[in-house]
Symmetry: none
Subunit: 218 residues, 2 copies
């Protein structure tokens, strides 16, 4: 997950970067609109966080140019009040906006929300006889449909899209349940249990990573 942070103030870039990295994102920076456009042409970002007021080229213009070529979600930063109406009136296809001053935590939460919304759907992931067809929203084992509950389905989808990667309970909760889930960690365990059962012989591919969480490994 690569994110481009565009702001002319280094301090802001640094803070945002730090928090995003804590959550496992890769972050690159640009200090003005021109740089932002250039970088986003050369790289594949999953999200752009863009300030509005900047020298060289402002955020609106930069977004306009980038969106012409690439379909990347954008989160806008704006000083309180100013320029705000424009954002709404001039529909640039902004995914969300945050007004300064903002809480880094909230920003990260919003970033995650956007990424989740924009997650590509309709993929078909196959691991031997285990197939997850996201378009049909269906999981089959050796051709036979398995009746997963919604949570089980989401969990499996997240697992298989992160093959070989250990996932903490917290990570699973924020990414599948949502950042606003305030329940018990261990509810993950219960779902892993039922999912393992549902997957039959493929259940074993969800491995326990002690002290951390779980991982799918095929």
């Amino acid at each position: 997950m690569k994110i481009l942070v565009v702001d002319d103030e280094k301090l802001i870039r640094d803070v945002v970067k730090e928090y995003l990295q804590l959550d496992g994102f890769t972050v690159e920076e640009a200090s003005n609109g021109d740089e932002a456009v250039e970088l986003s042409m050369q790289n594949e970002y999953n999200l752009i966080i863009m300030d509005i007021m900047m020298p060289k080229k402002d955020g609106y213009q930069a977004v306009r140019e980038i969106k012409k070529v690439k379909d990347i979600p954008v989160l806008m930063l704006s000083a309180r009040g100013e320029e705000f109406d424009k954002l709404i009136g001039f529909d640039l296809g902004i995914d969300d906006y945050v007004t300064k001053p903002f809480s880094p935590k909230e920003l990260v939460a919003r970033v995650k929300a956007i990424i989740k919304r924009n997650e590509k759907s309709g993929v078909k992931l196959e691991f031997g006889g285990l197939v997850l067809d996201d378009k049909a929203h269906e999981v089959t084992i050796d051709g036979k449909s398995v009746n997963l509950t919604p949570k089980e389905y989401d969990l499996l989808k997240y697992f298989v899209s992160n093959n070989h990667i250990a996932l903490s309970r917290e990570q699973l909760l924020t990414n599948i349940w949502g950042y606003d889930f305030y329940g018990d960690d261990r509810t993950v365990d219960t779902h892993v249990k039922t999912l393992r059962h549902q997957l039959g012989k493929y259940g074993q591919y969800i491995k326990t990573v002690r002290k951390v969480g779980y991982k799918f490994e095929y």
Copy 2:
């Protein structure tokens, strides 16, 4: 899909063009009514987006002349309030109108809606004894005609044309009811209910996809 955008303000033409191109449309421009008439005689457009107030020849006159010769859908642009009533009284065969200032996103949505409305289909979809003959606009089960209401028909058509694909309530609403439906999600449920009844033994092929929506699966 080729669209002609007619407006005397270059800025508006540019913005509209930009957004339409993002959605894969080919766009040509005209800056007044005369040009518009001329261009549309020489080219085959799938849609014309026409401003009303223009020098040389206004939008009404241009549309009238074009419609005399060609059967092209037209979307009118008008400044808020002014000239507006005329559009309704004047039966020019306008397909839709948008008042300035407008959100480009909405404009594109309306363009798509018009194009979709004007698409001739006429397919015949068969699933065992269940046949949807779009040309005749009729559904039969084992040869016997079924009396579907318009909504039921549209819903079934959308379902069967998306066999094996899970469809969210939102997706169903925007594609069948239209992007401007602001009612209750759950109205979909009610229609699914009646449709299932109408389809008798074929009702079971509309499956519930919990937490998502429904899918047709034959």
